[in-house]
């Protein structure tokens, strides 16, 4: 399946008839910058439409702060990776391209990890292994393959910003719902009345699955109505 599988990303290149690759490859044909940006937020939202990057989506959304940090880290890695891959796209050998993508992504993730350890140590400790795990996030390698390796620098940058924004917004919405219901707070500010009883389950993995499932259901209903 798609969820968190780097192998899948390698395989969809071979079979572009799959529905998901249709969404991923859309960028190479559509160079309208506005459409490219907003595709990442709604039409090809990596989490809600393509179901990519599900591991951090479920793991770091117990509160908004870590979710926002994860989202911004992914935006940085996407930008770095898309810029490098786009600049080098004419030199890429087809059979070595995945190695090149991996090298680029690993470098960006290491920079993000070092930065968080140096300047946001509490957040780095809170996110644990999930920042290094961005290396195997399918969104990054998927965009490098579907967009950056086939488009110019500007389109690749806009695509990275759109996809990154879509990922970050989704994580923050999911985290906000969970944090409010699990603690009554958001950004450590109490927003629920004193009579509110926190739902501890919403802070646990089960809360992540339930909330994500409900959001995916809502997105599917909206999509059908607007189709």
């Amino acid at each position: 399946m798609v969820l968190g599988s780097g192998f899948y990303v390698l395989s969809f290149h071979e079979n572009d008839k799959l529905n998901i690759s249709k969404g991923l490859n859309k960028m190479s044909k559509d160079v309208s910058l506005g459409k490219t940006f907003f595709a990442g937020i709604w039409d090809s939202n990596p989490v809600l439409r393509l179901l990519l990057g599900m591991c951090p989506t479920l793991a770091v959304t117990a509160a908004v702060k870590p979710a926002l940090t994860m989202g911004l880290s992914v935006v940085f890695v996407l930008l770095f990776s898309n810029i490098v891959v786009s600049l080098l796209r004419h030199q890429l050998k087809p059979h070595l391209r995945i190695l090149m993508f991996t090298l680029t992504i690993a470098t960006a993730v290491t920079i993000a990890d070092l930065y968080l350890k140096a300047f946001m140590p509490e957040m780095s400790a809170s996110l644990g292994p999930y920042i290094p795990l961005i290396i195997v996030n399918c969104i990054i390698i998927g965009r490098a393959e579907a967009c950056a390796s086939k488009n110019g620098l500007i389109v690749s940058i806009i695509d990275a910003l759109g996809m990154g924004a879509g990922f970050t917004i989704t994580l923050c919405v999911l985290a906000a719902i969970r944090e409010v219901l699990a603690t009554g707070n958001i950004f450590e500010i109490t927003v629920m009345p004193g009579s509110f009883t926190p739902w501890a389950a919403m802070g646990m993995p089960v809360g992540a699955f339930i909330t994500l499932g409900l959001i995916l259901g809502a997105v599917n209903i909206i999509s059908k109505k607007t189709a």
């Binding site: 070595l96 090149m100 920079i111 802070g203």
Partner: protein
Amino acid sequence: MSNNETKNPILFFMQESWLLLVSAILFGCLLACLSAAWQPKIIQNEIDKFNALAGGLLSEAKGFQNAGESISVDIGKGKTYSVRVKKGTDAAGNLVGWAFVCEGSGFADKIKLVVATDAAFEKLAGFGVLSSNETPGFGDKITIKDGFYQSQFKGAPVTELELTKVGDAETIDSRIVAISGATVTSEAVVKTFNTFLLPIKEAMAEQGLL
């Protein structure tokens, strides 16, 4: 015979992979530069965190310095964990206690602790949690400073600790009452203490620190 096979293999390798090699070198240099620039800050963050936790446990301590050699503790399954014990000293330089970092396997992930003892290494001054990913609302109660669980370790003897599910948590002895709903995490902390405390005490005695 194909063209590739007649070519010089080294030349062929360079033609195919020069971009990968050059990129690897450039990215490696970039990471080396950033690491060199940020590593002192990262190390200082770790020292600050240790000092804040250990200083909270040994309130009279004004500083912590390495004491003796690194101690290798057997953590089972043929693995060892290297511990560097630090001595806490007051403003006059007098020894007020010992502190060290140790870790064990919790319910979800590794639990990394800062453990402090008195100057004689006879009684625990308590523990602080450097890192853990235990279940919110249950296992993560081990991180509550002066909470129900942590309080039981303050003044407890440096000996084999025992975990019980029921008992009087206010009686300070070697019996530690588990957190309700977080027995695995409670057990992990006690097991970590039992793995590290006595071997470290023995090694410190051998080094002439006690």
